[in-house]
Symmetry: C2
Subunit: 103 residues, 2 copies
DNA sequence: ATGATTGTTCGACGATCGTCACACAGTTGA
DNA sequence: TCAACTGTGTGACGATCGTCGAACAATCAT
């Protein structure tokens, strides 16, 4: 049901999380995941004009950095922000990054 | 007295700040600046084994991203974190990035 | 003036990054 | 069984990044 390995949060380094967030596409994705709900990886879920392989690349970086989990169900995959764990490891970071309307 | 142009904080984009922070050297520098006090650019102030030109490169990125100011005094320069402005623009971000002891 | 000091800028280099097309693997449904 | 579908992996490409040495500019002390 839940597939693909994500690192233990205790092994996650802040600088790697920041590197994962330091890209417009991935920051956008993380913001759409702010509410903690899983979201399908399907291209039309993200409002981005990128190819499958490019999105797969970004999803991989998000997962390997510790930001997300991948949930596999049949042939569809979903991504979920590891909000609670991230809040414990890096208090305030997600809140400030997800932030409000300021670009 | 205060030299080299820093961007208006209202023009600073979060993704650019994150990109500036997403490097071990610059994250280290920002943490040493956490208290808001200026710090000389002199190499021995940072405990890093890098050349002058490399440090100048990192200081430039920090300044252009909006994270720091440069204070010129004679032939010595100092860097200062724009803490108050950053806190207003991105509440909680600096606090979470500067954080505590977790690597 | 002259030489030492502090820091920037330039050009180069290898490494990493973001993107794509293509081939591949697993799941679903007819 | 077989075709369609969803997503991953590979290899390539240009662009950006981090680093360095060397040249330069500005300031200070003598």
């Amino acid at each position: 049901m839940t597939g693909y390995p994500s690192p233990d949060m205790s092994d996650v380094e802040l600088v790697d999380v920041l590197r994962a967030l330091a890209d417009p596409v991935r920051l956008h994705v993380v913001r759409l995941l702010a509410n903690g709900e899983p979201r399908a990886k399907a291209l039309d879920e993200w409002g981005l004009d990128l190819t499958k392989s490019t999105m797969a690349h970004h999803f991989r970086i998000l997962r390997e950095s510790g930001l997300t989990n991948t949930i596999v169900d049949g042939r569809t995959h979903a991504v979920q922000l590891r909000r609670a764990e991230l809040d414990e490891r890096f208090p305030g970071l997600m809140a400030s990054v997800i932030g409000d309307g300021r670009s």
